[in-house]
Symmetry: C2
Subunit: 152 residues, 2 copies
DNA sequence: AATAGTTGGTTGACAAATCAACTATTTTTT
DNA sequence: AAAAAATAGTTGATTTGTCAACCAACTATT
C-alpha cells in the first residue's frame, strides 16, 4: 500500500485483510468472517428477527437467511417462529454460542488493536468519526435516491 | 450506521457501498466493480504483467487471471506473451479501454466526492493518512509472520 | 368480506475474492 | 549438465455478498 493510494483502495484492502484475519482466527469454531457480525449482533439482541438483523448490519436479507441457516446447522443458534406473526423468525443464541462469546469479542478486539497499533487515542477517535461521516454521506445519498424513486 | 459502530463494520460498509456504486455506474460498459482497479492500474502501467498487477493491487493472482480473461473477452485488453520469458503475460489496453479512460476516472472521482462531501481539506488528508497507517500496520504484521514462517 | 399492497423470508443466479493444487517455464544449486 | 527451487499463470472449490423473483402471511382499502 502506498501513500498516494486512493481512499477506496485502502478501504478495500483493510476490509479484505480483516476478512482474512477473522477467517483464520475463527476457523477453529467452524465460523467464517461472514458470521461473526451476526453473532455480535445477537449477543446484544438475542431473539432478534432476521430482517431486523440484516437491516442493522446493512446487508441483504438473503445473506442473513443463509448465514443464520448455517449458524443453526452448526448449533450456534435456533430459529423460532414468532407467536404473533407467523412470517417472522426470531433467532436465539444457544449455549454453544454463548460459550464462545468472550473468544469472539477478544478476536475482534485483537484485530482492532493490530490496525490501530500506532495510533494515538485522539487519532482513533478521529478515524472513527471520519469513517462515520463518510458512511453517513453514503446513506444520505441512498435515502435521497429512494425518495426520488417513490415520487416517480 | 451508528456512532458507536466498530471501525471494522464501517470499513466493510464503505467497501460494499463502493462496490454497489461502481457496479451500477459501470454496468453500461459491461464492467463490474472488480475490474476497474485493474484498468486503473493499466492506465498508468500499460503492458504490466499479471503478477505485477496483482501484487500492486494486493489481490490474489488467480483473481487477476480471471479479471484479465474477462477484460480480454470484452475487448478491453489484449494479452501477449513476453519475449524473454514465456511464462509471463503482458497486458495491453485496447482502444476501447482507452476511450473510456476519462469516464472511469470521473466515476472514481464522483465516488470520492460523495463520501468526502462534507469533509474539510485537512480532514480528507487526515483520513487518507490514518487509513494508510492502518494499512501499514496490516502489512507489517503479514511481513513479520512471513519471516517467522521462513525461519521455521 | 374481497382485493390490493406490504412485509419477512427463501431461492437461484451471479460477481468478487481467496486458497490450494497444479503446469510450465526459468533460475539456482550442486 | 542434472536436480532442485522459485516464479507466472491457470483451474477448481469455496465463501461473501448482491439482486431479482418468488411465496406466504399480514395489513389496509374499498
Amino acid at each position: 500500500m502506498h501513500h498516494q493510494d486512493s481512499i477506496g483502495k485502502m478501504l478495500g484492502f483493510l476490509h479484505r485483510s480483516a476478512q482474512k484475519y477473522f477467517n483464520h482466527q475463527l476457523s477453529k469454531y467452524d465460523l467464517g468472517s461472514g458470521a461473526y457480525m451476526f453473532l455480535i449482533y445477537l449477543f446484544h439482541n438475542d431473539g432478534a428477527t432476521q430482517n431486523e438483523t440484516s437491516s442493522h448490519l446493512d446487508v441483504d436479507k438473503s445473506h442473513a437467511t443463509r448465514i443464520f441457516h448455517n449458524l443453526e446447522k452448526l448449533g450456534y443458534v435456533t430459529r423460532k417462529h414468532d407467536i404473533h406473526d407467523k412470517r417472522v423468525y426470531r433467532v436465539y443464541l444457544t449455549k454453544k454460542a454463548i460459550s464462545i462469546r468472550t473468544d469472539i469479542k477478544e478476536i475482534m478486539q485483537s484485530w482492532s488493536e493490530i490496525i490501530t497499533k500506532d495510533l494515538k487515542e485522539n487519532e482513533k477517535d478521529l478515524v472513527k468519526k471520519l469513517l462515520w461521516k463518510m458512511s453517513k454521506n453514503v446513506t444520505d445519498m441512498n435515502d435521497a435516491q429512494n425518495k426520488l424513486c417513490q415520487n416517480s
